[in-house]
Structure formats: C-alpha cells, structure tokens
C-alpha cells in the first residue's frame, strides 16, 4: 500500500490505513484513530455514516461494518453500478461500535479472514464467562488476556462490564491510549489501572490485559502467577492455541466467522462477489457451489495487523 492523493479508508487497523496520503476520507472515529497512531494529521475529510458525497462521477457513502469503532463499508456508485467494499466486518453485537448494515450492491468485495468452515465463533458471553469462572477458582492468580490494541481490547472490557463485572481491569501500557480514545467517543470502559501503577498483590484475582505480543514476554513476570488467555478467532484451533502457549483460549473475533460470511453473501445477494484479505479459495469455491459468480482479489502490500 502506498501513499496516494485521495484515500478512502474503511477503518484504523494498520493493514487498512496508512499514513502519508494527501487527503483521507474516513469516519471521524477512524480519523481520530489514525491521528493517534500516526500523529501525522493528514488532511482528514470526516464522513458520517449514510452521508453521500461525490468524487468526480462517483458517488460515495460509508456504512457501519461492525468491526471496530468507526469501521465502515464503502459504497461506490458509478453509471448505475454499485460496489460495496466491506473492509473488515462482523455480524455479532459489539457494544463499542455501530452494527453492520446490509447494503445491497452489484459487486460485493468481502473480507475472508476466517473463510474456512473450521471457524465458528461461539456466543461471546459464554467465552468470557470462562474468564470469570477461572478467576473464581484461582484467587491467587490473575488472568492475563492478550487482545489487539485497537478494537478487541476495548470490546472485551466493554462486554465484561455488560456482564456485570465491575472490578478494576489492569492494562499493559500499550493499550492505554486507545482505551482513552474509545472513552472520548462515549464508550464506557469502567475503572482501568495501569499495571505499572499497581502492586503484584493488587492484581491477584483480577483481569490484566496486554497486546498478544506481550503474553509470553518478560513483562508478564511482574504479574501474580498469570493464567495466559488470548481473545482471538484463531483460538478455535487447538494447535494454534497451543503454539502460543495459551492456557485459556477465548474464541472471540471482530471478524465474521464462516457462517456469517456465507450468510452475509446470501443476504446482500450481489451479482458478483470479490474475495480478499484471507482465505479466498474456500469462499470462492463456496460461491461456486451456489452458482454465485465470485473471484479472488489479491491485494498487494497487505500485511495483517488485527489477526483475528
């Protein structure tokens, strides 16, 4: 991905948003996230969900994708043909962002992060209940949850609050700024304490959160006998969880699982599906089985940030 004159950005994850463009169209939340991460203050053009604007002959509108705060699908219309680019999306409810909206179109460009039948995300509350149950039986320990800094961390906290968990949650330094930004946009995360401000004993019987990279890091030595958890769609696969030394897998994703991907295609009912960002082959094959015209769209310069 390279810098361009005009960029339409779906959401703030690094594999979808880069700095250095001359003009960036994105939701106000996404622009704020990009400012926080890149501190470049590109010429941002805020776009509200549903608002229509024009670039040359193309009319454009942004619609909620339900992925993370500010995430959007982009609808492009030109010569009576409409294209919807989903960016990343999910269908589950998420207290930290607006729910996915089905936007009818001719060409539907869908993500495919979890486009294999092995991926099924169980009910969110069941997964998080595992954390609360573990805390109950391990009063001397803490549960250390690895979660991506943008989106996943705030969603986990927010879901736990909705389940009535009101104790303070301890944060690795790398998660603090994004949580503050979410709060500025009205997402209530309850009491958060930096691990660096806490004593080991304060954290016994509590939840500590960190980015996945810190899970098996020296950093975690300051924690009281941590039980390693990770909130990710990849946790569905045992061997994956074991490779990361996870003791408590939490299958929780900000992407659509297999059934949600396929159901969404049926619901949107486009003339043609283009598949990108993930396991294109399986989803294209599935479309073929149902006589839905589909092809893989391979994007260059793509790296994953929000792996799951």
């Amino acid at each position: 991905m390279r810098a361009v004159e005009t960029a339409l950005v779906t959401h703030g994850h690094a594999d979808h948003a880069r700095s250095g463009h001359q003009r960036v169209y994105a939701t106000p939340e996404t622009l704020a996230i990009m400012d926080l991460r890149y501190a470049t203050h590109d010429a941002g053009c805020p776009v509200a969900y549903g608002e229509v604007f024009h670039l040359g002959p193309v009319s454009i509108s942004y619609h909620p994708a339900g992925h993370v705060l500010g995430s959007a699908q982009i609808r492009l219309e030109y010569n009576d043909e409409t294209v919807v680019v989903t960016g990343d999306y999910k269908r589950r409810s998420d207290p930290t962002c607006a729910p996915f909206e089905v936007v009818p179109c001719d060409i539907f460009i869908t993500e495919a992060t979890f486009a294999l039948p092995v991926f099924y995300h169980p009910p969110t509350q069941d997964e998080l209940q595992k954390v609360l149950d573990t805390l109950k039986t391990n009063a001397e320990s803490c549960v250390l949850i690895g979660a991506y800094a943008l989106g996943k961390a705030q969603r986990v906290i927010s879901e736990l609050r909705a389940m009535g968990y009101d104790k303070p949650i301890f944060l690795h330094g790398a998660l603090a700024k994004m949580c503050t930004l979410y709060e500025q946009f009205g997402v209530d995360l309850g009491e958060l304490i930096a691990v660096s401000d806490a004593q080991k004993t304060d954290m016994q019987g509590h939840i500590v959160m960190c980015p996945p990279s810190a899970l098996n890091d020296r950093w975690s030595r300051r924690l009281p006998d941590p039980i390693t958890a990770m909130a990710s769609g990849w946790m569905r696969v045992r061997q994956r969880a074991r490779q990361r030394n996870v003791e408590l897998p939490i299958i929780l994703s900000d992407h659509a699982d297999w059934t949600e991907l396929t159901d969404t295609i049926c619901e949107v009912n486009p003339r043609e599906v283009w598949v990108t960002h993930g396991r294109e082959e399986a989803l294209v094959h599935w479309c073929g089985l149902r006589q839905i015209s589909a092809k893989a769209l391979r994007l260059v310069g793509r790296e994953t940030e929000d792996d799951g």
Binding site: L116, P117, V118, Y120, R236, V237, R238, Q239, A241, R242, Q243, N245, V246, E247, L248, P249, R279, E281, A282, H285, W286, L289
Partner: protein, 531 residues
C-alpha cells in the same frame, strides 16, 4: 465420553506437569470401570483398532463434507482429527437410533467389532452424536495419535498418584495386563493384592546407570565391566514363552529369533544385545562384537531374513539376573546375584549368550587408565556397579555408573537445518553437517540436535534464516560457511551415507565462528578415527 473429552481438552491447555497429573488422577478416581481403563490405555498408547483407522475418518468426511473445503481446512489446521471435529456437519438422527454421547466402553466395543468396510459409516454415526470436543476426543481415542503431550510414563505416574501406589510397582505389572486393566484398578482401590504376574512373560523395568562426572568413587565398593555398544535387552523365559524387551519395554522378539529360540530356561536376565564381529573389543578385553552400525541393520524389523541371520548373527552379553527360575532375586545385592548369573549362563546355548567380564581394578587411578585404554580396544567405556546394590528400576544415585571414554571431535560445516519438535518447533535446531572430500566437495557426515545452549540455539536459528539458499519442505539448505565443532562417541563405516561414515551420538560442542569453512576437516581424517 463427555468426561473423557473434557479431560483431553484440559490436558491440551495445561502446561504444568503436576496439573496434568492431577487432572488424569482425578479422572481415573472418579470414572467407573471399564471406561477409565480404556481411557488410560488411550493415554498410554495401548489401544489399537485394526479396522478403525484415520483413513476411515477421512473417507467419512469426504462423503459428508465438500471435499475441497475439507482439504483446505485440513491444510490449515494440520490435523485430520481436529479438522473433522470442527467442521463435521451433523445430521439429525433417525428416531430409533441411539443419540447423545456414547460411553468410552461402548465406543471401544464398537470400534473393536467393526469390519473395515463399515468403519466410515460407524465413524459418521458416532460423529453425528457428539459436539466438537466429543468428536475430537473420540477420533483421537480411536486412531491412537493423541498428540497432546502426555507420555505413557506420565499417564502411569498419574495412575499411581490416583491410588497412592509406587509408579515402579505399577510399571512392573503393567506389561502383564491388558486394557481395560481391571485387576490394576482393583489393586489400586485396595480390593485385591498386587496382580500376580509370575507366569506371564512380561517386561520388568530396567536398572539404569548415572554418568560418572569425574568424581572418584571407592573402588573397594564397586566392580567394573566394559560398556558395550549395542542395545540393552531383557530376556524373559517362562514355561512356554520367551520374550525380548528393549529398554523402553518394546517387545523385539520377532526381530531376534536367533536369541529367543536359543534361550531355553526359566528366568529373567539383563544384557547387551550385540552382533558377532570384530569391531568392538580385542584379545585383552572380551572381543567378538561388531559395531553398533551392524546391529542397527537388524533393528526395527518385523521379520528377519535367513541371509541376515547368517551374516549378522546376534548374541547377548549378560550383565545381570532378575529372576532365577521363578525366584525374584532383584532385592539381593549384586555380589549375590552375579554368582546366580554365573550358574544360569551355562544352561543357555553357548555362543549366543556369554557373561560380561569383570575387569580387575584396584583403585581409581587404575580405573582411569582402563577407561583411557578403552579407546584402543574400541569400547564405549566402562560401567561401575556397587557390590551391594539391589536391582532397582530406574536411575538410583550411587549404585550404577557409566563412564564413557572421552568423545572424538571434528570440525564440520553446517549444510542443512530442520525445525525441531515440541517446544523447539519454532526454531531450526536439527543440523546436518559435512566434511570435505578430496574433490573439495562437502559430504554430509552426521546430524545433531543437541550440545548447544539456548543462547547458541537462538544464534544458530538466526544464522539459518539469514543464510538459506534453498528450501525442501521443512528443510533449509544453508550457505556453507559456518563451522561447527562436533563431538561424537565413535565413528563407523556405513553404506547408508554418501560419505561412507556414520557417527555415534554426535552433538555440537562449539560454534566456530572464527574458523573459515575451507579449514574444516576432511573425510579422510574422520575415516582414520574408525575403531
């Protein structure tokens, strides 16, 4: 099945050995017979269903699921059992069918009775009755490969812990019993005595030696024998059976009929399995054994040809006796067991069984000389046995020592690297290295995956990643620039390698970043080290 599935699931995510033991022990205590016995057999690898293989699961999956989606999923997950467990599309069951999770006992019965052609249908029906965790556990139980980081030893230790028994006592009766091990659980629960195994030709755990780390011992208390380089075997003769067991308890009788057929006595003895030849030992020691390499040709075979029996005849050099007739003599001191062995050996076919010679050594200084001389005699080293030591399972400090001769060294060049397994699966830790031939060509001479520190391993891994010139599946070929100092116990000629050499116990002793690859050793130098 639900409890077993829960156990498997928790074991997968548990890192601590003690917690694993607790989980298994609790399951064994709380689950009724015969289910717990079958489950235990699954954990120790003692379950086998000849007609219900993983291929039958694959067939069932390809019938029920879209084959390409199954294949893509399998490629991603890397394990057929887990893939099928995750993506199985269960069909509603007919009214008269049994529904809900099956018990472990019923599952085993159905898997035992199924005909090969019916296995896919049986799997389909079983998979329909379970949730993903249950499906995973049942496929794993049925097809053997658990891959959940539980060794047979750990499972047996858990059994012992569950019923406050000694694991060596459990190990001892284990091999005489069959799943679902009902007498074992009765004994564990105090309902009966320890199972009587005196008439069964079963394995008894070996007594093992500690390495002697240059500490002097009082030679008045010890006897010395040569350490022969074959494999330790236990021969068990009963009224109507003879069995050969390797150190791990594997039954290797079929590969060595020349030993089994010539053991015509009741008792249990311990010795070194060797092949006739003249590579090991000399006139001053106790010669007539071929190199380990010669023995290796005969290992791991289910059947052995007449030619092989003729060209590489096996014999056993006896070290010790565990049972004299039906009498368990393991509690006696070595000094009393050895005379029993001396009287036992003449009952056996001469030429197939001889006695390990006792070397006369007066003091530790003399022992040093004997050990240094073992290189000239092409012997691996010496064994020290305490005169008053009973025969005890495992390694007991102070009783038996092995003292190998100093290793040989060669400077070799790294050629290929492969990822390790288990904890080291993310690192390139298995290295193939070579030496130069006369034409300036590098030929592989060995492979090592130990000897380095964790720090050095990290460095080696980085070196491999930064110097890869070719990839062959899991193997990377590297730039031939890095010299490794390799230590090994001995080297032999071998037809299996292009270099014509095979190293015994090679390990990497030093990374020679300072040495240019051109200055590594040549094949001829290594050939001169052959005993």
């Amino acid at each position: 099945m639900e409890e077993f599935a829960k156990l498997i699931d928790r074991l997968i995510y548990t890192r601590s050995r003690n917690q694993k033991l607790d989980l298994i022990a609790a399951y064994l205590r709380d689950t009724p017979d015969p289910h717990r016995g079958w489950a235990l057999a699954a954990l120790t690898g003692d379950l086998e269903f000849p007609n219900a293989k993983i291929s039958a699961v694959r067939t069932a999956a390809n019938e029920r699921l879209d084959p390409l989606l199954f294949k893509l999923s399998r490629d991603f997950v890397g394990d057929t059992a887990e893939t099928v467990a995750l993506i199985w599309e269960a069909r509603p069951q007919p009214k008269d069918a049994e529904t809900g999770p099956i018990s472990v006992g019923d599952l085993v019965e159905q898997l035992h009775n199924v005909a090969r052609k019916d296995a896919p249908a049986l799997f389909a029906q079983l998979l329909d009755r379970h949730d993903p965790d249950g499906r995973y556990a049942l496929i794993k139980l049925a097809t053997g490969a658990m891959r959940i980081g539980i060794s047979a030893r750990l499972a047996k230790t858990a059994f012992a812990q569950a019923f406050s028994l000694n694991v060596d006592d459990v190990e001892e009766v284990w091999h005489a019993l069959q799943p679902p091990f009902l007498p074992l659980f009765d004994w564990g629960e105090g309902k009966t005595h320890k199972p009587d195994i005196s008439d069964a030709a079963c394995f008894r755990p070996f007594m093992l030696a500690h390495p002697l780390e240059e500490e002097a011992v009082d030679m008045a208390e010890y006897v010395v024998e040569w350490k022969w380089d074959g494999i330790r075997v236990q021969i068990v003769g009963t009224r109507d059976d003879v069995r050969l067991f390797s150190r791990g308890g594997d039954d290797i009788t079929a590969a060595f009929p020349d030993i089994a057929e010539n053991f015509d006595a009741i008792g249990v003895v311990d010795g070194e399995l060797l092949v006739r030849g003249d590579a090991q030992g000399d006139a001053n020691t106790q010669g007539s054994a071929a190199s380990f390499n010669a023995l290796q040709q005969r290992l791991g075979r289910k059947k052995v040809s007449a030619k092989m029996l003729r060209e590489a005849p096996a014999f056993v050099r006896l070290y010790d006796i565990l049972f004299d007739g039906k009498n368990d003599v393991r509690a006696l001191p070595w000094s009393e067991r050895r005379p029993l062995l001396d009287r036992f050996q003449p009952k056996l076919q001469q030429g197939r069984f001889d006695l390990s010679k006792i070397i006369a050594v007066d003091d530790f200084e003399q022992l040093r000389l004997v050990r240094e001389g073992s290189r000239d005699a092409a012997i691996e080293g010496v064994m020290l046995k305490k005169r008053d030591s009973p025969y005890i399972a495992g390694r007991k400090a102070g009783y038996w020592y092995k003292w190998k001769r100093d290793p040989l060294n060669a400077d070799c060049v790294m050629m290929y690297a492969q990822r390790g397994s288990g904890k080291r699966s993310s690192l390139y830790s298995d290295f193939t290295f070579g030496c130069w031939n006369e034409d300036g060509e590098l030929l592989p001479v060995g492979k090592a995956y130990s000897g380095f520190t964790d720090e050095e391993l990290k460095w080696l891994d980085k070196f491999v990643r930064q110097n890869t010139v070719n990839r062959f599946g899991p193997v990377r070929e590297v730039e031939k620039t890095l010299v490794l100092e390799v230590a090994f116990d001995s080297i032999h000629s071998s037809k299996r390698h292009k270099s014509g050499l095979a190293m015994r116990f090679p390990r990497i002793s030093r990374i020679r970043k300072d040495k240019p690859a051109q200055e590594a050793d040549i094949i001829a130098t290594l050939r001169n080290m052959i005993d």
